[in-house]
């Protein structure tokens, strides 16, 4: 969150923001949680396509084996659904990576623009809203599903630039949403006011003493002014104290200091981001989230796996290059481990006011901008769903044929009670939502 955003953020809090921040708008403080029935959704992006033979289960149906890349999901196999055969059929301006990224959650063309890729025509932002923002707006529009943030847009090692390769969620046409890839900034966004309170709490007493001491040396009229001031400081202290005595249902995580947003910090940042995300869900600060690992054409170097080459460069190597394929498998296994770790954390927390765990009321959806890196195909894009947020039938592998992915977004919308007829490009929505229930 940059300063301007922080300003706007603080600005929304009203005049008493400095001292009265938690007295409203934080549902988790109203201790007994409202009734269950919460639905949550997490979209996760990793780049450069997958290694299909090691990703897709061979068999369709309930009796299937998890291939190598998906093995970290073994403990959640019964709550996992793989969907093969979905394609990003959106055409138009922009190179394959741009469209793979910016048309993924939007299902609609990019505007013609001034950003030139290595090939094809230059393009701009997506011309429509993304499905995560659509769901967020739907939840925020109703009192019973409204949360403080509605949605959280997270990133891990996202480059410091804004273009169709680095943005996948859109609040509307030409309105990309920037992910927060610095866990400390995310913490600030989620709990900054608590830190402000702590800091304030640490100085008020000293200020009060100063005022009292100074006041004694003044004439009566001036003394009144400073004593009035001292009283206001005392009142603020008391208000702060009473506010701070209220505890979050799930205390905010303690972040270890010193993690940067550079390449080598990825494992730490990924873990911190997922801790913050799970905590935010547990406290019901949001019900929709997205996590973007690097970007389309991402060049992360996963050195901690002993891989020095950039991810995107490796993904261009031919299928016959066994060493590269092996590295790509390892990279994707690592990504899958992050998904599994997130699922594990969600599964460890009982659903407030409901049955099962948070994971039983949350669906994690893992996807990619391409089906396969070296062919740049938009066919058979990876879609893996873990968890019970949508009420889909899990514990199975689904094989479809050349189906526009827009139809999956329609299924999500319907699962959230939003009965859209089309989403994104209407031509790609014929035959309606996929039957996944």
């Amino acid at each position: 969150m940059n300063l301007l955003q922080r300003r706007q953020f603080l600005g929304r809090l009203g005049l008493s923001a400095a001292v009265m921040p938690f007295l409203g708008g934080l549902p988790s403080l109203a201790t007994p949680t409202a009734s269950g029935g919460r639905q949550r959704m997490i979209f996760i992006f990793t780049p450069n396509g997958t290694v299909p033979p090691h990703f897709w289960p061979e068999a369709a149906g309930a009796d299937f084996q998890l291939p190598r890349i998906l093995t970290p999901l073994e403990p959640f196999k019964s709550r996992t659904l793989t969907v093969k055969g979905l394609c990003n059929r959106v055409r138009g301006d922009g190179d394959g990576h741009m469209r793979g990224m910016s048309c993924l959650l939007t299902g609609i063309e990019l505007f013609p623009g001034n950003i030139q890729g290595g090939s094809d025509t230059p393009a701009g932002w997506a011309s429509g809203i993304s499905i995560d923002q659509e769901l967020k707006n739907h939840l925020q529009s109703r009192e019973e599903t409204r949360t403080r943030f509605g949605s959280l847009e997270l990133g891990v090692a996202v480059p410091h630039r804004a273009d169709p390769w680095t943005r996948w969620t859109y609040a509307g046409p030409n309105q990309p949403v920037a992910p927060v890839d610095d866990p400390y900034l995310l913490f600030e966004k989620l709990y900054g006011r608590m830190k402000d309170q702590e800091s304030l709490g640490s100085v008020l007493d000293g200020v009060h003493q100063d005022l009292r001491r100074v006041a004694t040396q003044l004439t009566a009229e001036d003394r009144d002014r400073l004593e009035q001031h001292a009283t206001l400081v005392r009142e603020m202290e008391a208000e702060l104290k009473s506010v701070r005595e209220q505890k979050l249902e799930h205390p905010e995580p303690v972040l270890e200091p010193g993690a940067g947003t550079e390449n080598d910090d990825m494992p730490r940042v990924a873990a911190m981001q997922s801790d913050l995300l799970v905590n935010a869900f547990a406290n019901d600060l949001a019900r929709i989230a997205s996590v973007q690992f690097t970007n389309s054409v991402g060049q992360a170097r996963l050195r901690w796996l002993g891989i020095e080459e950039g991810h995107h460069s490796l993904s261009h190597d031919p299928d016959l290059n066994e060493s590269s394929q092996e590295k790509l498998v390892k990279i994707n296994v690592w990504f899958c481990e992050q998904i599994a770790a997130l699922a594990r954390k969600l599964d460890a927390i009982p659903e407030p006011g409901g049955s099962g765990s948070l994971l039983d009321h949350t669906t994690i959806l893992w996807t990619n901008e391409l089906g396969k890196g070296n062919s740049h195909t938009h066919e058979n894009i990876p879609f893996v769903l873990v968890g019970g947020g949508l009420g889909f039938q899990t514990g199975r592998s689904l094989h479809l044929e050349h189906t526009p992915h827009n139809r999956l977004w329609l299924s999500l919308a319907h699962a959230f009670g939003r009965d859209l007829k089309t989403f994104g490009n209407p031509r790609l929505c014929e035959a309606g939502p996929l039957a996944l229930g």
Binding site: N114, I115, P159, A162, V207, H229
Partner: protein, 775 residues
Amino acid sequence: MRRPVLFRRLLILLTAGCGFVAACAGESGEAIYRRLCVECHGERGEGVAGKYDETLHGDRPVDSLARLIERTMPEEKPELCVGPDATAVAQYIFDAFYSPAARARNRPARVDVVRLTNRQFRESVADLFGEFLPPLPPAAPGGLRAVLYQSKGMNKKDREVLARTDAAVDFNWGTNSPVDGITADQFSIAWSGSLIAPHSGMYEFRLRTPNGARLYINEALRAGDSNRRDDSDARRAPALIDLWVSSGGMTREGVARLHLLGGRTYPLRLDYFKFKETNAAITLEWRPPHGVWSVPDAVHLSPDPSQPLVVAATALPPDDGSLGYERGTAVSKSWHEAVTRDALEVSDEVMTRLDLLSGSGARDPRRSERLHAFATAVAERAARRPLTPELVASRVTGFFTPGLPPETAVKRVMLRALTAPQFLYPDLGGVPDDFTVASRLALFLQDSLPDASLIGAATRGALRSPEQVREHVRRLLATPPARAKLRGFFEHWLSMEEADDISKDERAFPGFDAALLSDLRRSLELLVEEVVWSERSDYRELLLADSVPFNARLAAFYGVPPPEGAGFQRVRFDPAQRAGVLTHPFLLTTFAYHRSSSPIHRGVFLTRNVLGRFLKPPPMAIEFMDDRFDPSLTMREKVTELTRKDACMGCHATINPLGFSLENFDAVGRFRTVDNAKPVDAVSEYLTADGERLLLRGPRDVAAHAASSDEARRGFVRQLFQHTVQQAPAAYGPDTLARLDRGFLESGCHIRQLVESIVTLAALHGYETHLPPAP
């Protein structure tokens, strides 16, 4: 009530023919007051609740007061006190408590211990952190530096073709190239320099382009800000307006708001590129406070760099202005919360620039030590003096505890410093020392904190003689923040704040729109600036000038020949018709109704601000309802009719003649000779505060009177003192104003020298007698 009447009549009979009425009757003015007036006005004119609860004070001369009493007092029985009795009572109350001199004597003014005003708070915050960056020479106006590049695919700055200065950013190249040597299909331009903010307040910015552009204001340049490649991953500053990615060749618009401080400069950068869109165009506009949407011109843009400023932007509750100048006397809950929130926001903002300000990066092995040093320096600057080791321990070191990141400690030190009484109350009374003098100088001249040079002088004991102090005053007065503060005085003196939201009847005044009003304001500002900063800096010139800076639009509207050359140039008027600021159309427009002139508003302004006289608030609010009058009346006739009652004429005897003298100007300040089909009558008789009868035939007579009147001049000295020091002049000694006025007169009414004298006098107040021995 019968008895006193009989008794009075008897008394008059008995005392007839006696030279000294009061003496002969054996009844003094005081006795009459006690008998007839005290019931409603109280022992010392303080008023009586339920009867007449306002204090009796004002600036009428004794004879005017006597006539008023004779006509109106006691209420409903004015015949009880007439002739010599009225004079005796008038003389008594004048000497005892009514006159300004009596009031000063009765309630010896003192220097209040007050908090920073809102303006002082913001200026101080900006300067608190400003000194941690290397100083740059002041950015000189003249447009923005522009560097034009040939682009090549993703590479936006493939080849530099031309560097130049652009007076403004408002281009439409269509399908063409901006300059020879660059292809029309793809190129980029980087504008950089500074924005010069004329006023404090909220600024809006608007960027429009069918291409790619990013606007940065008040951001330090960071690595990666060159935007050379589309896919570069360098970390750049957050843009104020980001329109980098184009959308189908459509012209997009981005708007943002920023709170800026007047008289300051802010780094500005605008990166732009075109890539294969059909058309190329870009416009940067702004809407400054009191202004309209327009392209900022070269006067407000500089090709020179500036350092970014930390700006406190929380809305603070308005300061008390009930005495005619802003005072930090109100300590309310909303003020306290706003200041606390500002302290939080400011420390957050500093945290985003901590490496830059502290000179220590994240990987600095001595980071903790450097941050401690930075925090100590912040705490000392905020306290306006060096801290004792005990205070460093409690206000700084105490926050650096094991287990707490040093960054958090810095943030807490800042919060502590920004909320401490030593920061919020700049002069905490007690015995003034060298640092008090330094602190006052900065406050009086710039509404801010002492700079390094002042602190240095205080440390060396070199701020003790009036000569030493005056030298710093001269240095500081030339700085942009001091000029901005002085400009603020004239805005206040000329009631320019009241001009916002003015609207005029479009049918009656076609062509009078917001843009023209904005030009008028600029014209008046320029007139004042030119006089104040001229060599003679003569106050009388403000009143008597017979030319005004106008641009072509103003000249056309006001029917004078257009000025030679572009922009604002002096245009001469017939000296018989107009005189200095008094007839500046901006003021005449401000003090007028939607369709007609307002002699009352104009007269009140002249009475209070220009002639320095006191007026009490009207006893009741009477709305001027134009349709209640006989439609054939002139404005003068209507006002005369409206205010003819004795209760009104107490003040309107002064207000009306002054207002009527400007009746030759309509509601937008155009000269006229006819009002409502009758010839304008601008002639009246006016009684000065010294009791002199004056025939006013028009604005030039008013201006000539103001320029030569001791009372008007003293009023100016008083108002300038109040605006500069924000305390009552009498608190600095009963003859403070008289001394300053004498010097002012001797200097040829030199405004800047008057400021110097005011500041020197007030800064050393109470100090001379406590001079410590020289080191």
